[in-house]
Symmetry: C2
Subunit: 213 residues, 2 copies
Amino acid sequence: MRVSTFSGDDIAAMDDRYRVFFVNALSGFKPATLVGTRSQDGQDNLAVFSSVVHIGANPPLLGLISRPDSVRRHTLENIAATGAYTINHVHADIVQAAHQTSARYDHGVSEFEAVGLSPEYSARLQAPYVVQSRLRIGLEHRQTIDIELNGTHLVIGEIVEVQLDEDVIAEDGWIDLGALDSVAVAGLDAYYQPRRLARLSYAKPDRPLRALD
Amino acid sequence: MRVSTFSGDDIAAMDDRYRVFFVNALSGFKPATLVGTRSQDGQDNLAVFSSVVHIGANPPLLGLISRPDSVRRHTLENIAATGAYTINHVHADIVQAAHQTSARYDHGVSEFEAVGLSPEYSARLQAPYVVQSRLRIGLEHRQTIDIELNGTHLVIGEIVEVQLDEDVIAEDGWIDLGALDSVAVAGLDAYYQPRRLARLSYAKPDRPLRALD
């Protein structure tokens, strides 16, 4: 292994496109999700996001990072207008369809139709789920925090509905994302299928870890 | 597949521990990282984090979500005091050591020594890297945003140094995290080794996707 060191100046001097690929991979594996929204005039929107982050369990809150100037701005606009969105896990069979939602479709085009995924509505919220997804989360928007350092936003929502196969929930509440075939993303465009190494016991200073499997 | 629906009320009614496991898995696969800091009196600290999130490429910014009342508060205190921290990717061989850093060690104990990992310093910042890690990122603290909804914090730092094997960087800047054996986390304690499905081309409305591999 030849370890190289890149300074902040080295990163600043990179070609724009090279830097985007390089820095986007540094944060490590990310979740592959599809965010579903509906505009006030009834137009469905679907966009792939890898910036979902756990904020808290009680109340159950998820965050996502978004920039206003991307193709995903319809998502932000719809969340602001309706207060509702869904986060749908991507599994291996729908990776191509999920990635294809990042194309710049015209406003009148539903990404669902364009990429071959099906919307589904629940009574609880004004946003479409992805039928094909195996873990579907419905959220009500709680707060958007502007990150002035670079003009991005942290969008925080409270989980008001979760749909998944009960069989993948362990006795203690943990969900086996491997059994759902959920995928991970590295950078902007590389999709990975994770295989479980181990579930480890709660760590204590003077006790060896056990595998919980 | 028997799809079950959990409402917000169902989640609120869960046993506390069950809800923690359940909700922590909903955000999907997360990066397994070790955050290294040093106190002003020279005490090294190392803590496993799975809440690292990409904020932007130019300037290169990473965020992490932290709560003040956890064992990880030393991390926050040290970042506030020195302005420096490192984020080190966890690979399969150091998963157990990484998880063990979450034990509640006394303040005078260095998690590096306790779990068998080695600190290393660069001239650029007052925080220890993990020698064993294959992707090491040095950061300067830029901003901490309080999330009043639940008392957590979004800690944002600018990347000032990156150390990794040059051979895993693709021609376009993308980093093959699979070649580094970086791992992903589901929930609080389950570690996964991702295998690449595909790198996909930039999506356009009327063009099929290609695999870039």
